[in-house]
Symmetry: C2
Amino acid sequence: MREGFHNDLQRLTGHLAEMCDAAAHAMQRATEALVNADLDLAQQVIAGDDALDALRAQCEEDAYALLALQAPVAGDLRRVLAVVYCAEKVERMGDLAAHVADTARFAHPDPAVPADLIPTFERMGRLDAEMAERVAGQVRAGTDGFAELRQADEAVDALHADLLAAITGENWQHDQRTAVTAALTTRFYERFADQAVSVAKRLEFANTGDLPG
Amino acid sequence: MREGFHNDLQRLTGHLAEMCDAAAHAMQRATEALVNADLDLAQQVIAGDDALDALRAQCEEDAYALLALQAPVAGDLRRVLAVVYCAEKVERMGDLAAHVADTARFAHPDPAVPADLIPTFERMGRLDAEMAERVAGQVRAGTDGFAELRQADEAVDALHADLLAAITGENWQHDQRTAVTAALTTRFYERFADQAVSVAKRLEFANTGDLPG
């Protein structure tokens, strides 16, 4: 049974790592669609989100089967439940990438965000995608790196704060519609990073039994 | 063991119902703080969120103990895992209520939202709190009501769309800072309702084994 369990768990974590890669890829492409006002790419990202939702449902079903058949305890139980928890967070990351793409789609043929903010959105997109990739690596290696992810999250939070300050500042050159779109969009990036941190936190809990602060 | 299991499960769902009530109460009070620019009340809501976070941690710990000790299967397994899933969503509802309160606190002594939008925010707040209360009732009764919750969510979505249209429309009388604050705040209400729907959906899954569409 133990060997069977560990094979099943490995397949499960493999699916979770795949989901993380898909979320990273989605955010990277959504950002490209946003900054280049690329309608085709935006539509691809939005359509691609279904695959991530399906992977998550599969992950959860497999985890339930594993719990019911093998009734793992202690660290093994924590690891299985961590996959269920993390899969839900990563699905949400995919939703947020799709929201970014949807913002580009909705504004098309106009750009959704003004040219002077594009470099900051590009940096947030890169940081978000890197965070998801790092989490994928941790899932595959069976390691965790909450402190590292939290550091990246702080960089995203700082960019988010910079953007909000620019958007709500005295020198804002655009209308309030553009302000609202930019503010909601930057929040999608900030929430994506938050979910990645939650995943890293849960991986650390799965490995150690302690939730990092 | 079966009797022990059902007592444990009942205590677990009792805690989840308490969490739903707390989230309803938090959103109702956060809305009062927002529309009356009431700093004291806002601070109470923000401080009160810790209690909800603690309840959630307790729920999860109890669920893990139950899984490890009793290894439930089929419907029992679904019900225990549903509590873990729902507790996380309800904790998030509390976070969103705290975000609304924080918006009021940050703007104080000014009102965070312009007077003409207050009736709509009040309606969203009432709908959100009612949704959380209904979910609490369903948790206690061991029933579910996904269709009903989805209907309430549609009403919240419609108000959210109305607000965004007003905020980004030609007749907007305020500056873009006020626009951005109002847009982010209406999204907190919309996301709160989304979480309540997720909870109702998961309760239906726990009861029937089918995820409603």
